[in-house]
Symmetry: D2
Subunit: 305 residues, 4 copies
């Protein structure tokens, strides 16, 4: 029996006292002006134990963590046909994103990078009547929190400065791998990135990746066991951009980060853990989040490897 | 209690009857003239159960699987200093190998690609008196088979046509990340690739990745728990070149393949499994090996995710 | 004294009888439905001789040839400051356009590729009150033809399918090298590409590149001698995308092609020649245009080399 | 009648007094220890006038200028068949050399970059009995100087540290575009780079590019008019690596530089000019050489454009 709570307390306290390196995301004012010292952790075990510390009840912008959600919902609705339009290979490096799209004829490397998530969003725009509303409903049911929404201010800011994402979406469109207009796809994509919730809620939303028996409000399994495993495998190899290998190497869990400073990590059949701290390292992943999780899996000796 | 043997029998028989697609490696005569229908599997559980089927007792050229061995021995000897000279990130695609070396100033992406393994070989040339002999001794002790050796014919052929590897090694040398002469490094590297053993022996050699308590002939732990986890993490993200994501996605185990048609896969704390079938798919991984392992983890519901 | 007219007649007749290979540009209906057999040539010597054959009086879409015009006007207005935002190096290959923008931090390689021309358009949007109108006025004065205009149908079609150009412009904007909104820049850029004129008029418009003493309607020199030389140098090294070396090698003149099938080529101090034939080779340059010019400089022994 | 001598005197004196920026090539001791203040110019007009100033009589290592010589001799012997194995397009950037070889399947972009020159050397190894001796004989006849030779010390040093060139040659060999052993090709290539002569001799050797009627010792035309034009066209677009556009833009002449600090430039039918000054700019071209030539063509108003 591992003393999770004690380990979390100890690590939280230790890291909270160490220098907080890195830099808060600067590209939109809503992210830039956040207090860089927020630091929250929430742990939730399959067997019932759960525990939060620090700013675990404070909402933050989930940003790219939303890519796991859109992927899961598309996978649920469309099954393995989604892999015709997006790959499952790590992209190697941020640097290569555009040239890879050129050599791969508009098929993004995986659904965890921006281009891949846009293609997934494009699928959902066709599959769902009100995609944003339906996904928010799903989140609200999973978290039992009807207040969860996207931030319109963040959404508007993302749109305003999102030249690189506009470029990416139009580039994929030029290869025919976007069906809807780039504007619609980007609107949906940016809204998903602007969803806000707290650490506890993140573990609740993604509980189906820890335990594939978890059901939605309608009592249906969200993903089959095989699908859940595969989403975890993709997070493992692709969840942290060009630091995916590093995260796998040091933390050893499937996970996904966002530039809002959040990270969700999953130990299938055992637990999930959400960490949030806004300062990012050079690769765009939460400095304290990475540090906490590395030490957590070392202390608990519980990585998947 | 999973009926491993029954599952293995059933899958082996089924796949053996299906069409055997792909092509045997053609670049050297020793690999090209092998019987394409060889097909062997060996399974070895931590708890003692072990089982072989088909050509599991027949030797084959382990090729790139040797990269796991050189990495492990360098890691054991030098600890985390090795990561100054080689990374832990997936390379994204075969296509990028050389340009990545350029942008990364001669630091190969990971030790599972040729350039990375050469840098590891370079480290061992300094660290060990007779590196080839010492590694063979290690293998012989682990397998209790004193006959295990490299094939001189394969080694000579690799050298003769290895222009691309010569290019790679000299390119890294030009960045100063090879200390010894490229000739020495390549000789050692090619000899390692030319080692021959059978499926059972592969599971024996790599038993320390399943159970980090496994010791060598001197009674010493081969890798610490943390090191074993990290080697597994690297195999997970980088073990199958630009099909690493695909293997992770479909099979869900850390593993490594070689162009001789062998694959070793590891379920930490549970089992290891070696598969050998010479025909390769377009990415250079054993066609039947990939197929067998995908169905094996599906049937047993035992991937790491 | 070279018998230009006889040589032109002979070559025109010969090539007109040979098979007309390649394919008309397909991406917009206005270009796709053109008669592929149009073939016009207009020659204009500094010393006065001028001569047209075939469809030299028929208007066509000048497309990328317009890049020479925007460059010249920006150069005239802003002098060598323009080179802070766009380079003068050949791009090597079409394939590299986007990765080069990444490594070059949003500074396009040269003003003859799409991205470079967009940056030039962005400069003109700030410098001119009604850039499109002013440029059309310039063209009308040079050709003494008040009817010259852009085709609104071509412009609308370019906009409708121009995803790749939208991507490019937004990508450069993301690096801060576009000041205006991408929409404004693209509108101007697409309008410039949609200008229509005939072979004779092309030689009139670009007469200042043959003879830098040519003046505009206000009696001012259009470009200084040094500027005219430099624009010619850029056409020489960059005017034909990744076939620029080939054109330089075979034809030996500064020139610029467009996907409408037009080519303008200049022999400084001697003559200019415009050729138009809609079928394009694999690199997007007029099949008959390239062939005619190669044989023309061979026959006349008058390349710049 | 242009006062070449007065212009040369004035520019030489002016530039000699200005700060001498850049850095002497460091990779081999023979080049590194040269006096950085050497500065020589030699001018030779078709109509007979010729003139030297500064260190024009001092030998230096011609390095990459030798690529024009091997190209010319291969072109003479083999005609246009050489273009099956090497292209005529500028490479865009140094950075891309290796990735371009990958995408172009081992066909180097042009004969002015290292890989292209190696392929040319490979052709000559088959075509000539004693290629090095025969080329030296050619040079000696053209310059009437029997002492011209390659420096064995430079050659040995080039070989010793030439890892990147070894990589390049083996890489091309792996695509089948080198017939001989990489060792033989590299030996020949490095010897060519190690040839030493002075500025005057450079203009003599390359006189056939100014005037295609120039004959060799046997009274034969060295290159046909068309071939000479084409070699000039290649120098124009590819002679200065990723500064080729810049040289074309600023100087406006076909030319070739070497890391020994030499530059040969040619104005077809008018003159050739050789400049030597060992300090190189960031792109590896002589700082003073570039400066001198830019101002020379500006002052004389004689570029090819």
């Amino acid at each position: 029996m591992i003393a999770y709570q004690a380990i979390i307390d100890e690590l939280y306290s230790k890291i909270n006292q160490e220098e907080n390196l890195g830099q808060v995301a600067q590209y939109i004012p809503e992210l830039a002006r956040i207090d860089p010292n927020y630091f929250g952790v929430y742990f939730s075990a399959v067997e019932g134990e759960s525990y939060g510390i620090g700013d675990w009840q404070r909402n933050f912008s989930i940003q790219s963590i939303s890519k796991v959600l859109t992927l899961s919902i598309a996978y649920r609705l469309l099954g393995d046909t989604i892999w015709k339009r997006v790959g499952v290979e790590p992209s190697g490096s941020a640097f290569n994103s555009l040239i890879q799209l050129e050599t791969d004829k508009g098929i993004p490397r995986n659904p965890m990078i921006n281009g891949g998530a846009m293609v997934i969003c494009d699928m959902l725009l066709r599959e769902l009547k009100n995609p944003m509303e339906e996904i928010l409903q799903f989140i609200r049911k999973m978290t039992l929190n009807n207040q969860i929404d996207y931030s319109d201010a963040v959404f508007q800011s993302e749109k305003l400065v999102g030249y690189r994402n506009i470029a990416l979406c139009n580039f994929i469109k030029s290869y025919g791998n976007i069906e809807n207009s780039p504007e619609e796809v980007l609107d949906f994509y940016f809204k998903m990135c602007s969803i806000e919730m707290n650490c506890q809620e993140l573990t609740q939303v993604f509980s189906y990746l820890v335990n594939s028996n978890v059901t939605n409000a309608a009592g249906e399994q969200i993903l089959s066991l095989s699908q859940a495993k595969r989403v975890n495998a993709i997070m493992q190899t692709c969840g942290f951009y060009d630091e995916s290998g590093e995260f796998s190497f040091k933390v050893g869990l499937p996970g996904k980060s966002g530039v809002g400073g959040g990270i969700i990590a999953v130990h299938p059949n055992k637990y999930s853990i959400a960490v949030w701290s806004p300062k990012l390292n050079a690769k765009g992943n939460s400095y304290r989040g990475m540090k906490f999780l590395e030490q957590f899996t070392t202390k608990t000796e519980l990585s998947i490897f």
